[in-house]
């Protein structure tokens, strides 16, 4: 027995933006992510330093 056909149109989950294949690849690209790792740590540290009065 096959599963019933599911049409996602008009459901909540149909409307949000979803990543393209290229975006997904960039999320796990080591070089891009190494850069992001440094950049995000810098941004987090800015928040942390501001929070310590």
């Amino acid at each position: 027995m096959t599963d019933p056909k599911v049409i996602r149109a008009y459901k909540d989950e149909y409307y949000p933006p979803v990543p393209t294949a290229a975006t997904k690849r960039m999320r796990t690209n080591i070089f891009i992510q190494l850069y992001k790792f440094l950049m995000l740590n810098y941004k987090i540290m800015r928040i942390v330093v501001k929070g310590h009065s």
Partner: protein, 484 residues
Amino acid sequence: MKVLVLGAGISGHTAASFLKKKLGKRHEVIVVSPSQYYQWVPSNIWVGVGRMKPEQIRFKLQKVYKRWGIIFKQAKAVSIHPEGDDSISSGYVTVEYTSEEKAGITEKVEYDYLVNATGPRLNFDATEGLGPGKNTLSVCSFSHATEAWEALRASIEKMEKGEKQRFLIGTGSPTSTCQGAAFEYALNISFELKRRKLDHLAEITWISNEYELGDFGMGGAFVKRGGYVTPTKIFTESIFAENNINWIKRAGVYKVEPGLAHYETLAGEYKTAGFDFAMLIPAFSGHDIKAYDKKGEDITSVVFAPNKFMKVDADYTQKPFEEWSVDDWPQTYQSPAYTNMYATGIAFAPPHSISKPMKSPNGTAIFPAPPRTGMPSGVIGKIVALNIAHQIKHGKIEHKHTANMGRMGAACIVSAGYSMTKGLGATMTVSPVVPDWDKYPQWGRDIKGTVGEIGLSGHWIKLFLHYMFLHKAKGYPFWWLLPE
């Protein structure tokens, strides 16, 4: 002088460590905690999907405290006596031991300064049928997370035999907070099922008391992304859509039966959601600690708010959402009733929620309570410790350090899958935690200080923070240089 710290979670442990460092051997620091362990709570998620063992996220407090010279009592606080009594002139706390060898024995622990960092009581009883041992699971502690992993493993085994499984993840009461932990757990389950190529047999549903997804108990946020200023609503819905996670929002779960969660919507409808596996976060409350004056009169309502969290220097005047201000939030966390008492982390009573209060036509409040975990808890614990140490050293009450959640930012790293090469994490920062609509009329927060990124780097950061914060908590070399 004696400083008594109740609780050894993120806030209490931070406070105790800085108190001892600042006060040295001349003064006593005493920690009372019902558990013998310190646990790095954010990593419970990885215990819940079998990627870490409980031993990797916890350690015994006694060993560290012995090295630091802190007195540790494995006990729970029963009552606070800020004025002492007929026989004891200083304030004291009655504690009841929870360790195997001294279980049930009570003791009066005297103090000159008291720090209440008892954290939340996981109020599973507020929702019928909710919680471990009943019909749902939790990842709020390492023991709960271990149990959740056992149940998840059983579901995976069924799926390996071709059986479909329905997962229900989210909030288990109309006013639960900590959506972030449930969000992480839903994403980690999705990741683990994809890794095993079983995701086609899973139906994952998110259920939440949030008005919109991405509220996270802080009224949502806006992030600069792809050339647009985007609400966390879109950010969160996008992640769910990508992972085939369905969602039910504006839902207050009021009853759970085996395989069935009953909820009321903000529109006033009563509905049900079926499940084979459910992890729902309970409501939080303060602990059942009473307070008495010198004559033995009950002053619990003077010291604590009705939700059992301790009152501090916040503005508790009831006012509408439109009149809320960052100045409502506490700065020093000092009790207005007794100047030598403080409450830190989740133990302090917030003046109100951060998300806008909502009620269904039936009168049920359905909106998230304010989150106060992680970085703010650590920062508050530290500033309270520094202020108390200053008072003891200089003999006068002044607060050199403040930490208002309306001026403090926070970073939240949401794990979305554990792997060094394929893992994912969503890195989110907000500044400030509580929106300041006077200073930032458009977004409520500094849009330059707000980040929302998904990628492998987020997993690395979360893993790095896991080791860094355990290094700090264990008091390894240069621990005090590491931020909260």
